[in-house]
């Protein structure tokens, strides 16, 4: 099959393993495209895409915009900081106003979990979730899986540890869904206060000791401490967090194997990841960024191409 089972990308939870494989295979084709001398294909030239960002973003917004432009789509950008949202306009009104300008797809980031799901029930366009609060960030999970697959081959049976602020991380949840659907084993590791209750019901292992987690895994996906989402203190200080959960070269050298280090960005250097690890040969952080464009091209292409 060359068609997704859905017309929106709201989260990994709604995708089938076949959908994920199709996206990753198509992304491999697009990765070849973006390494050509001329990196643009005409597939989406009659499509207009609105990037609607109600929350700050650098990497994801640039990555989506580049993916859209590489596919020859027309792109309009919207950010809530300088818009009528400040004047009290509702989400559906804002998006319907954008859609009345003949927009076909909406890429949305919002601080409220479920906002893209709500939107998909109320507007006609294809919706792509670019992160909804602490819920899901599907394209990040897809590009993470693509990057692991590119480095280590088939994900089935691979051991992936997600380390850090699991509680506030949409990247963690989407990654857990995605990796499990592709047959990988997943472990979450972090201070007990930053691990959601009942997380093991998702079929993941839980580990509090970062050394044990690193020893167990093939890949460590290190997450940022999301201070902007923390209303109370979950650990005494950043310095203490860094001492117990920060990953540095010394820690990696104690392992009896080589592991791959990933990070969705932005990195707080010296907190969750030391510079000597972030910039080392173990790290595939910049490959993740490049793969992000290819994966987003695949998602947009597959969603735009189906007429259901």
């Amino acid at each position: 099959m060359s068609q997704l089972s859905t017309r929106h990308l709201l989260g990994i939870k709604n995708l089938t393993p076949e959908d994920i494989h199709l996206i990753l295979e198509t992304a491999a084709n697009f990765k070849e495209v973006i390494n050509r001398p001329i990196k643009k294909v005409p597939s989406l030239r009659d499509i207009t895409i609105a990037n609607v960002f109600f929350e700050n973003s650098t990497r994801t917004r640039l990555s989506f915009e580049l993916a859209e432009k590489r596919l020859s789509a027309d792109v309009i950008n919207f950010s809530s900081s300088n818009s009528s949202v400040k004047k009290g306009e509702s989400l559906v009104d804002t998006v319907n106003n954008i859609l009345s300008m003949k927009v076909d797809m909406v890429v949305m980031r919002h601080s409220s979990p479920g906002a893209p799901h709500f939107l998909s029930r109320n507007v006609k366009a294809n919706i792509v979730n670019a992160g909804d609060g602490t819920h899901e960030h599907p394209t990040q999970a897809l590009l993470d899986s693509f990057s692991i697959q590119e480095k280590l081959g088939d994900l089935a049976g691979k051991k992936v540890a997600i380390i850090g602020d699991i509680l506030h991380s949409r990247v963690a949840l989407s990654n857990i869904f995605c990796l499990k659907k592709l047959g990988a084993e997943v472990m979450v590791c972090g201070p007990i206060t930053l691990l959601p209750k009942h997380i093991e019901s998702l079929g993941v292992k839980v580990e509090l000791d970062v050394k044990k987690a690193l020893q167990w895994c093939d890949v460590a996906n290190v997450l940022r401490i999301q201070l902007e989402r923390q209303q109370i203190k979950y650990f005494p200080s950043l310095r203490e967090y860094s001492l117990y959960y920060g990953i540095n070269k010394k820690l990696l050298e104690q392992l009896d194997k080589e592991i791959v280090i990933m990070h969705p960005g932005p990195i707080n250097r010296g907190v969750e990841l030391a510079s000597d690890v972030a910039d080392s040969e173990h790290s595939i952080i910049l490959e993740q960024v490049q793969n992000g464009v290819a994966v987003r091209m695949a998602v947009l292409y597959l969603l735009a191409g189906s007429r259901n």
Binding site: T26, P37, V41, P42, A304, R307
Partner: protein, 182 residues
């Protein structure tokens, strides 16, 4: 279902060798020539042609596989998008003589898309088209092959099917079949 044999294994073998001699006539020592098989089925023909060409000419002509899925003009006009295939071209076509290789020339739309896709790899000096089967009077675009194996009269209600022994078929063959009416 009605099925008519157009080319058998021996005839295809003769055509492939003829193609090689024609290429030698037109491209001399292949100094500046490259071959591109159009994915997915032109690449299979390409894989059959390349070793024979090397055997006859003594030259290893560079070749690659070109996928034109992202350049097709029927995207969003089908019920679902076509699945892309791998593009594998390890050279630039800038100022090269390019021979596009496909199995069947029908509407000409795939070849148009392929030329569009090819330009992402540079501006070729010259482009030629080689097809095993040229379906007469079915073209939507003004595209004609420079080399063809056989030219056949067909209707829109028919398929031209190219079978290859290395793709799980009994032997190399070209058939004309009727489309099944739904």
């Amino acid at each position: 279902m009605q099925k008519r044999l157009v080319l058998d294994q021996q005839q295809i073998g003769i055509i492939l060798r003829r193609f090689c001699h024609q290429l030698i006539e037109n491209h001399d020592n292949f100094e500046n020539t490259v071959l591109l098989g159009l994915q997915p089925r032109g690449s299979i023909l390409m894989d059959h042609l390349a070793p024979i060409l090397e055997e006859i000419s003594g030259v290893k002509v560079p070749f690659g596989y070109l996928d034109a899925t992202f350049h097709r003009d029927d995207f969003r006009r089908r019920d679902f998008p076509l699945k892309a295939n791998e593009t594998k071209i390890n050279f630039l076509v800038e100022s090269k003589k390019v021979i596009l290789v496909d199995d069947v020339l029908y509407k000409g739309r795939s070849v148009r898309a392929a030329m569009d896709a090819m330009i992402a790899f540079g501006r070729p000096q010259k482009v030629e088209l080689m097809v095993l089967v040229d379906r007469k009077l079915t073209r939507d675009y003004p595209i004609m092959p420079d080399y063809y194996g056989i030219r056949v009269n067909t209707l829109d209600s028919q398929y031209v099917v190219v079978e290859w022994a290395n793709q799980g078929q009994a032997e190399n063959a070209v058939w004309i079949t009727e489309k099944v009416k739904s």
